[in-house]
């Protein structure tokens, strides 16, 4: 198994009006390829901060962050941007699709950024949309879709460039439990069939149960890193 993410003694402080808040305190973590990992913890425990730093959206205050062996701290903003485009997929809580682009255009956007020719893009994305259950909806706009369907488009957009890692920040928080279940099933299926590595944050115990590995964060530290069932049962 290949190591996708490695964090070493990583801290993150936020400063506002000379008051420093420590969001992450010495986090060590390794994620291997093909993992399907959930990250849970109370609000303010540092879940989103951790995802942002692994995704190269934010920089740590100290410590080392590596994605596919590359130290993110040494990358310029342009290199980070290229790494996000090529190697990391993002799924956001509120779908975050571009409202003026169709389903097909939203899903192929990152491929367009990579310079994939239009015909090839369409071919890849049509196949993906079929996989995520949106066949026939290619020319619809996000406003014409349900929340669950929009999140499926976001998933297709995230995995279209075949990233090494998909980071999902509470991907099921805005949908009902049935839709959440189907989205989790889809992500799990993509993980198993395509080997896509997922790291997602959640508050929902049902979602956590679907993960193969669970990280629990508390006060900026990882308090649990391992199996799911026992931990949740204990809670």
């Amino acid at each position: 198994m290949e190591t996708i993410v490695r964090l070493e003694n990583m801290t993150k402080d936020y400063g506002l009006n000379r008051v420093v808040t420590r969001a992450l305190r010495g986090v060590d973590l390794t994620l291997e390829s093909g993992e399907f990992t959930a990250m849970a913890g109370p609000s303010g425990s540092g879940k989103s901060t951790l995802l942002n730093i692994i995704g190269g959206l934010d920089r740590p205050t100290s410590g080392r962050v590596e994605v596919e062996g590359r130290d993110l701290g040494l990358l310029s903003s342009t290199e980070l941007s290229r790494m996000r485009r090529d190697r990391i997929g993002f799924i956001f809580q509120s779908y975050s699709l571009i409202p003026v682009l169709t389903v097909l255009e939203n899903a192929e956007y990152v491929l367009m950024l990579k310079g994939v020719p239009a015909a090839r893009r369409a071919e890849i994305v049509r196949a993906l949309l079929k996989e995520v259950g949106l066949e026939g909806m290619e020319s619809r706009f996000p406003r014409e879709l349900s929340g669950g369907q929009q999140q499926r488009v976001a998933i297709a957009r995230a995995i279209a460039p075949e990233p090494a890692l998909v980071l999902a920040d509470e991907p099921t928080a805005n949908v009902d439990s049935k839709t959440a279940d189907s989205l989790l099933e889809l992500m799990r299926q993509l993980n198993e069939e395509k080997g896509v590595t997922f790291l997602f944050s959640t508050h929902d115990p049902e979602v956590m149960r679907r993960a193969r590995r669970l990280l629990l964060l508390k006060d900026g530290r990882i308090s649990h890193n391992g199996g799911v069932g026992h931990t949740l049962d204990a809670d």
């Binding site: 941007s81 996000r84 993002f90 409202p99 956007y109 990152v110 367009m112 950024l113």
Partner: protein, 408 residues
């Protein structure tokens, strides 16, 4: 796809975009119309003044402008005149004899400008010949007949058929008197022309001033299109070397009219500049608001790997589309309004009952616009170019979006 995204983005807030492009279109259309209005007035003014006076180009003795006097003549003009009249850009040429004198009648005497003209040419080209209010205009066979301005006629109590005496100095400085009779009275609306000018045939003027039979003080070249003045002036300059004649543009012969146009044109452009500034403010507001509203969307695009340069290009293209639509609309509105007024004109006589005079020259109260491709392109380019420059600020703003803050 970025261009498609930019195009669709400007229509997200359809009402705001429509208000913006209509503002650009209306503002640019107004600016184009008012500039073409001004250009139309200047063009009419130049044409009327040049036709009434010494042409778009004046040929005269090189010393005449320094100290105008009837002894500073030009002669042997037949060959030169024939050549110039053969050019397709030239409407006509006319010979003039300009002198000063005193006009006397039983009622008194007044200073007068005695102008010797070729009636056949003058009646075809000069607005003065078409403004006879009593009697008739001159013709070539008239010997001692003159037309006088209405104000001069009033001061000397002259009617058609009445006699007056002109006293002046001939080319040798001798004092001469000539008896003549009023054939017609003109009223141009210009106080200076109506109170000061006496027109007679050029033959009469040559006789009064004791000039050679083919001499004149000026040869006026009237062009079909005043814009071709520079080219024709250069061409005339090319055939004059060695000749004791100089060719002058109307701007040097009538500097007061040229100055008036320059000053008026300057203030017109300042006014249009203010209008364009207001248009640009609207565009800037739309571009900036549109970017500020989409901070989160830009953060998402940056997060999924969009290069900031790509986002800046998207904003640039949004400005291009807004600018192009607005400019096309403005050009259509401005050109349509200008074209209509260019064909039909607008009669301002209701508002300007006393007429319009500029530097002593009466002008028509029916105004025709003149929109040239140069103005159209220049103004459109200014608005479009400024739109693109204004987009730099929203573009810069996009580059500064904090992904983490916006996604939080």
């Amino acid at each position: 796809m970025v261009c498609r995204l930019a195009w669709r983005s400007i229509w997200r807030n359809r009402r705001r975009t429509l208000i913006t492009v209509v503002s650009i279109g209306f503002g640019l259309g107004l600016a184009l119309f008012f500039i073409s209005w001004g250009e139309g007035i200047y063009s009419q003014m130049i044409d009327q003044v040049c036709r009434m006076q010494a042409g778009h180009i004046t040929l005269e003795n090189p010393e005449y402008r320094e100290a105008p006097a009837v002894d500073l003549i030009i002669d042997d003009l037949a060959g030169l005149r024939s050549e110039i009249e053969g050019w397709p850009e030239v409407d006509s040429t006319k010979l003039l004899v300009l002198g000063q004198g005193i006009a006397k009648s039983a009622a008194g005497n007044v200073a007068a400008a005695i102008t010797g003209v070729e009636p056949s040419v003058e009646s075809r080209t000069s607005p003065l010949a078409r403004n006879i209010v009593e009697g008739t205009y001159l013709d070539e066979r008239d010997r001692n007949l003159v037309v006088v301005g209405s104000e001069l006629a009033r001061r000397l109590n002259l009617k058609v058929g009445k006699k007056l005496v002109i006293t002046t100095n001939d080319v040798s400085g001798m004092l001469v008197d000539e008896l003549c009779r009023v054939k017609g009275i003109f009223k141009t609306g210009s106080d200076e022309l109506d109170a000061y000018v006496i027109q007679a045939t050029i033959g009469f003027a040559r006789r009064v001033f004791r000039m050679p039979k083919s001499a004149a003080t000026q040869m006026a070249v009237i062009l079909k299109n005043a814009d071709e003045q520079e080219e024709i002036l250069a061409r005339i300059g090319g055939i004059l070397p060695g000749s004791p004649i100089v060719a002058l543009p109307w701007q040097k012969v009538l500097p007061e009219v040229a100055s008036y146009i320059k000053v008026d044109k300057g203030s017109n452009w300042v006014f249009q500049g203010i209008l364009i500034f207001l248009i640009l403010f609207t565009i800037f507001n739309t571009l900036l608001m549109s970017v500020l509203e989409r901070q989160r969307e830009f953060a998402v695009l940056l997060a999924i790997g969009t290069n900031p340069a790509t986002l800046r290009f998207q904003i640039f293209m949004e400005s291009v589309y807004l600018g192009l639509i607005g400019v096309f609309l403005g050009v259509a509105l401005g050109a349509a309004a200008s074209y209509t007024v260019n064909i039909w004109g607008i009669d301002l006589s209701t508002f300007l009952k006393e007429g319009v005079t500029v530097s002593g020259f009466a002008l028509s109260t029916r105004i025709y616009t003149k929109l040239t491709p140069k103005i159209l392109v220049a103004l459109s380019a200014i608005v479009f170019g400024a739109t693109l420059i204004l987009s730099l600020i929203p573009m810069r703003r996009v580059s500064r979006v904090s992904i983490v803050d916006e996604l939080r």
